[in-house]
Symmetry: none
Subunit: 170 residues, 2 copies
DNA sequence: TTTATAATGGTTAAAGAAAGTCAAAGGAGG
DNA sequence: CCTCCTTTGACTTTCTTTAACCATTATAAA
């Protein structure tokens, strides 16, 4: 029962598979007109299928020369990282749970000591400094993003393109 | 999807890199006709890309023999970090300002590319995922903490301490 | 010396070119 | 029929490009 969203999803996945590095740049309107659908359909597909939990990072830029960039992470790299991403981080996370996870990542060699030092200091209640219910949500979001970056690893740094790495960073 | 402004930016950057001293003199009209665009396009590029925040100084002079001079400031290693910590981060910070600061830290050699990649992804609106007023406060807190860790970890790559890193983790 | 003119660069508002958000309508399965 | 997932369309936000008009400086003419 392949429905439109599924088609768009597999189309993007196949584009990714054709790449040497798992990174693609697409244009929302172009894609939408290729599939004859509303442009916002693309956003729907991105937000339901190309999520961090499923191992994707999506960045974009508006205005003239705008684009959408999708990066696929290397999911079978490390099982604890993978677990974290896929199920270990929910909507909210306590400081203790976050630190425990980071310690485990460090001890299993998934992250360096510098990474541990930085990340663990970022997810403390003290650093976040916002009221309780929100704090835990932000922390979960941070942890998820950290896990994604660690999974993506050093080599395939998303912008392995040209030399003007920061030309259009935002 | 590099667009006109991006091309002009990287052209100017490459001119700068060719120089022994990081200073170039260009003429607005000449540049504009080289890129076949409106002269004011040059001003747009200058004001969006060659800003003080990004470490550039732009001076100019009108009339016959007029010119535009672009100087890349000498980014000495930790002074920007100190500035950030002491005054550069207020109660709130936008995504743009945070990314710009991180780029500058990277370019001045204060942080590694991995650190840049991780941190810049953590301070995005998308990652934080909370409503507007709070977002900017959390971001400021994160940036301050990052700056503190980087300054402490300083030149000799941080690991000068012992093995009791995890003694009082929680 | 004063004045006009040509040669520069600056500013700003409007149009153009993407992408994002959100709520409402549509459908398919239980 | 109820719920959840999908699809659409109207509206918003962000970034870029252009064009018309403004300001300054050097130089040649008076």
């Amino acid at each position: 029962m392949a429905v439109l969203s599924d088609n768009i999803e597999s189309f993007l996945i196949s584009l990714l598979q054709e790449e040497e590095n798992p990174v693609i740049l697409v244009q929302r309107n172009e894609l939408a007109s290729y599939f004859r659908c509303a442009p916002s359909q693309i956003n729907y597909v991105l937000s339901t299928r190309f999520t961090l939990e499923r191992g994707y990072t999506v960045e974009s830029r508006r205005g003239g020369g705008g684009y959408i960039r999708i990066v696929k992470m290397d999911l079978d790299k490390n099982s604890y990282l993978r677990y974290l991403l896929e199920e270990g981080i929910g909507d909210a996370m306590s400081q203790d749970d976050a630190i425990t996870a980071l310690v485990r990542l460090y001890e299993s060699g998934s992250i360096s000591q510098e990474q541990y030092t930085l990340c663990s200091s970022l997810v403390t209640d003290k650093t976040l400094g916002v009221p309780a219910p929100i704090k835990d949500r932000v922390r979960a979001n941070l942890m998820r993003q950290m896990a994604a970056v660690f999974l993506r690893g050093g080599s395939t740094t998303a912008n392995a393109n040209t030399n003007d790495t920061f030309a259009n960073k935002k």
